[in-house]
């Protein structure tokens, strides 16, 4: 580290006016330096506070504007709510009824080997203070002679509770060729399945949550 040698004797020899000017310069530099060190930090915190207030105000304004917009749209939303509830979106899934009806339609549409599966617990997708959205998975597998029978069966299922079902997947596959023995067995009244089908449905319903309904 370099040493700073100040020759005091030479400094004393300087003319008085020069010493005064150098002193003033030193004092000004100290004032400037101290000013920067102290006031700059203070100003920075004040500016940060202003920025924070500005950001908070902006966020609150956006939120209020959104809430006001929601309030403006409320009559329309309420009308759609009433319509959805009237369609039965708030009804619970009648698990036994679905199975019973499926059996009935299966027989009616000449389907064979009907197999079904309803998951035990519904998945809770979203919620509000008073409602929760529940999704139940329903699967049907069967065999049939004509694809039109399978499609009729599916249509009957979907029409049972409109506004509840969404199709997650389905498949149709030819399982047997239409050959002479098959035609003979059909002529003798024996239902030989020529195709396999499967449909996965998601049954969605709005249910009151634990705290109860509105």
């Amino acid at each position: 580290m370099a040493r700073l040698d100040i020759d005091l004797a030479k400094l004393k020899e300087l003319p008085l006016r020069l010493k005064i000017v150098l002193g003033v310069l030193a004092i000004e530099l100290v004032i400037l330096l101290a000013g920067y060190l102290i006031l700059d930090d203070a100003m920075a915190s004040r500016v940060a506070e202003v920025d924070r207030l500005r950001a908070g105000l902006s966020q609150l304004r956006r939120k209020n504007a959104q809430l006001l917009q929601d309030l403006d749209h409320y009559p329309a939303l309420k009308r759609r709510y009433d319509e959805a509830m009237a369609r039965g979106l708030g009804n619970p899934l009648d698990r036994a009824g679905v199975v019973s009806a499926a059996r009935d339609w299966s027989d009616r549409h000449r389907l064979t080997d009907l197999r079904f599966r309803l998951m035990p617990d519904p998945a809770k997708a979203a919620g509000s203070p008073h409602y929760v959205v529940e999704n139940d998975q329903v699967e049907f597998e069967d065999g049939g002679v004509f694809d039109s029978d399978v499609l009729d069966f599916w249509n009957a299922l979907l029409a049972q509770q409109p506004g509840h079902y969404r199709i997650a997947g389905f498949s149709l596959e030819r399982s047997h060729e239409v050959d002479e023995p098959t035609l003979n067995s059909l002529r003798h009244g024996t239902l030989t399945p020529l195709l396999k089908s499967k449909i996965d449905l998601v049954w969605t319903g709005i249910q009151p949550n634990v705290q109860g309904g509105p």
Binding site: E28, V50, A84, I167, A168, W203
Partner: protein
């Protein structure tokens, strides 16, 4: 400044428009500016921050000294101190003491002056100073008053000069160092006045010979001085005894001729030849000028002026009475008209005082600038503090208003029959079910309608990735969005068994794709597998009455992707 340019400048200054502007400026300055800034400038001059409007020029010769007082560019007074003057230095001191802040420029016009012109070796700019200093020490090892100046006219050369510190000069040094005026000195008068001859007697344009010029003048304080110059540099100067005042003009002219011829013989040793051009400029009394012009001098041209005429010609004003032959004031004003002296030979004390003066003025300017900057910064900070404070208050008030508005909106929301969140949830759920529902029978019917003769769908599968995982046991954590994955339908079409040409199969496959794409615009139809070439690696059998059959009928895989 060359003489022609100086004269043009002097004429320009006397232009009526410029005189009117100067008059107007003088009026404004006297009426408004002086009363406002006068006290400040007077105070700054008293402190030594500003130089005084006065300047003194002291020319020291062997026979006395001349002190010229200048105000701006105009000489306002001149004092001659001769050897017979009683307490000459005291008189000068009291004269200078009237304005102790006025700069005093000292020019030496004494007999003993030493000049040496030397070639300087090539060196970098940083080394050149050290080399010059070393050379100066070698050239004049015992002299205190010495200096060196690189010659701009002659590249690579420098003029070394010294002023021997005689008892007489030492007395002047003591006097100058005791003054409170800022002193610039010693300047060497011959060196400073070497360009005067060119200004007064310019050579004709187109001259091809080397031009030498000589200025012959008389100074009351020194004597008869000749200064020879060529190519913008002084080559030699001679000082001889001043002719007696009662000497006839013809005798003075004869003296001038004799001195000139004597100097020329010396000049020849410095490179002058008879083929060169020599211009002579004489400054003397009117009758001497006339007498000189009648003589047959060995020069190419002769210009003779009185100092009075020369002063007017150079734009310096009246520097001497019309009949006077002394050029002391002319020389002083010529030196004063320069931006800076050519060379200054100062003592350590004078050098230090000059350095302190410069340091003080610079320090004062920096301190003043720093003060203004500090004031500006403080004002800026104060404004910023006020601004942030005001802004904080305004923002706080606005925030309170918005919070009140938020509370009011919250009250309205809480008073709704069905809560906003409940309504929104039901609405979004209904929308989702509606948007993701579709009729599979309609889609399959549309596909069947586009199949060609003998074609059949073997298998098909539909999957909606958006609903994968919607049902089933509840899952912890956020659900991954599946909006980007859209439903797809894959199916396999079996072609008629009689169709065995691969190119026909492929054409039909593509035609079916095109038909499906037209019929189902909401879906993107792609072929994921085309029929393979049936003629290689397969058994082909049949008869003339039967259509040709293969082991298995050709199949094509398609995929329909729901467009976003």
């Amino acid at each position: 400044m060359p003489g022609r340019r100086r004269q043009s400048y002097a004429r320009f200054l006397e232009h009526p428009v410029l005189r009117a502007v100067r008059g107007r400026w003088a009026f404004l300055s006297q009426r408004w500016i002086e009363p406002l800034l006068g006290p400040l400038t007077r105070r700054l001059r008293r402190w030594g921050v500003l130089r005084s409007v006065n300047r003194f020029l002291l020319t020291i010769g062997d026979e006395g000294a001349t002190l010229v007082q200048l105000r701006g560019a105009e000489a306002v007074d001149a004092v001659l101190i001769g050897p017979e003057t009683e307490d000459g230095l005291g008189a000068l001191r009291s004269y200078l003491g009237k304005d102790p802040q006025a700069e005093l420029v000292v020019a030496a016009d004494v007999l003993e002056q030493m000049y040496r012109e030397e070639q300087i070796p090539k060196a970098s700019r940083f080394d050149r100073g050290k080399i010059l200093e070393r050379r100066l020490e070698v050239a004049f090892p015992h002299d205190r008053l010495k200096a060196v100046v690189p010659l701009s006219a002659a590249k690579g050369k420098a003029v070394f000069a010294a002023l021997p510190e005689t008892e007489y000069i030492r007395e002047w040094i003591g006097f100058l160092e005791s003054l409170s005026n800022p002193v610039t000195g010693f300047c060497l008068l011959p060196l400073e006045a070497s360009d005067l001859a060119e200004a007064l007697g310019p050579s004709p344009a187109g001259e091809t010979r080397q031009i030498w010029r000589v200025l012959a003048s008389q100074q009351a304080t020194s004597g008869f001085r000749q200064i020879f110059e060529t190519e913008g540099r002084m080559v030699v100067t001679r000082l001889s005894q001043r002719p007696s005042g009662d000497l006839p003009a013809e005798a003075v002219a004869q003296l001038i001729e004799r001195e000139l011829r004597s100097s020329i013989s010396y000049l020849k040793r410095l490179g002058y030849s008879e083929q060169d051009r020599l211009d002579l400029v004489v400054l003397d009394r009117p009758e001497v000028c006339r007498a000189v012009q009648e003589r047959d001098l060995p020069v190419a041209s002769l210009t003779a002026y009185t100092p009075h005429q020369a002063g007017l010609l150079l734009g310096l004003g009246e520097v001497a009475p019309e009949e006077s032959g002394f050029s002391d004031v002319l020389m002083a004003q010529w030196l004063a008209s320069k931006k800076r002296p050519e060379m200054v030979l100062d003592t350590p004390v004078l050098r230090q005082r000059s350095a302190y003066d410069r340091l003080f003025r610079t320090g004062f300017a920096v301190a003043a600038g720093l003060s203004l900057f500090t004031i500006f910064e403080l004002a800026n900070l104060a404004f910023d503090a006020f601004d942030t404070s005001t802004t904080s208050e305004v923002l706080g008030a606005q925030l309170a208003t918005e919070q009140r508005a938020a509370e009011s909106i919250s009250k309205r929301l809480s008073s709704l029959e069905i809560g906003m969140d409940d309504v929104t949830l039901v609405d979004r759920t209904a929308d989702a079910i509606e948007g993701e529902s579709f009729d599979p029978a309609a889609l399959l019917s549309a596909i069947a309608g586009q199949l060609g003769d003998g074609m059949a769908v073997d298998k098909l599968a539909y999957a909606d990735p958006r609903l994968a995982g919607e049902a089933g046991p509840p899952q912890a954590g956020p659900r991954t969005p599946k909006q980007s994955a859209l439903p797809t339908l894959t199916f396999t079409v079996r072609l008629p068994a009689s169709l065995i040409q691969t190119d026909v199969q492929r054409r039909q496959a593509k035609e079916l794709r095109d038909r499906l794409q037209t019929a189902l615009p909401a879906w993107q139809v792609d072929i994921t597998r085309l029929p393979a070439d049936a003629l290689h690696g397969q058994v082909i059998e049949g008869s003339s009455t039967q259509s040709i059959g293969v082991g298995t009928a050709a199949t094509i895989d398609y995929m329909l992707s729901r467009k976003a």
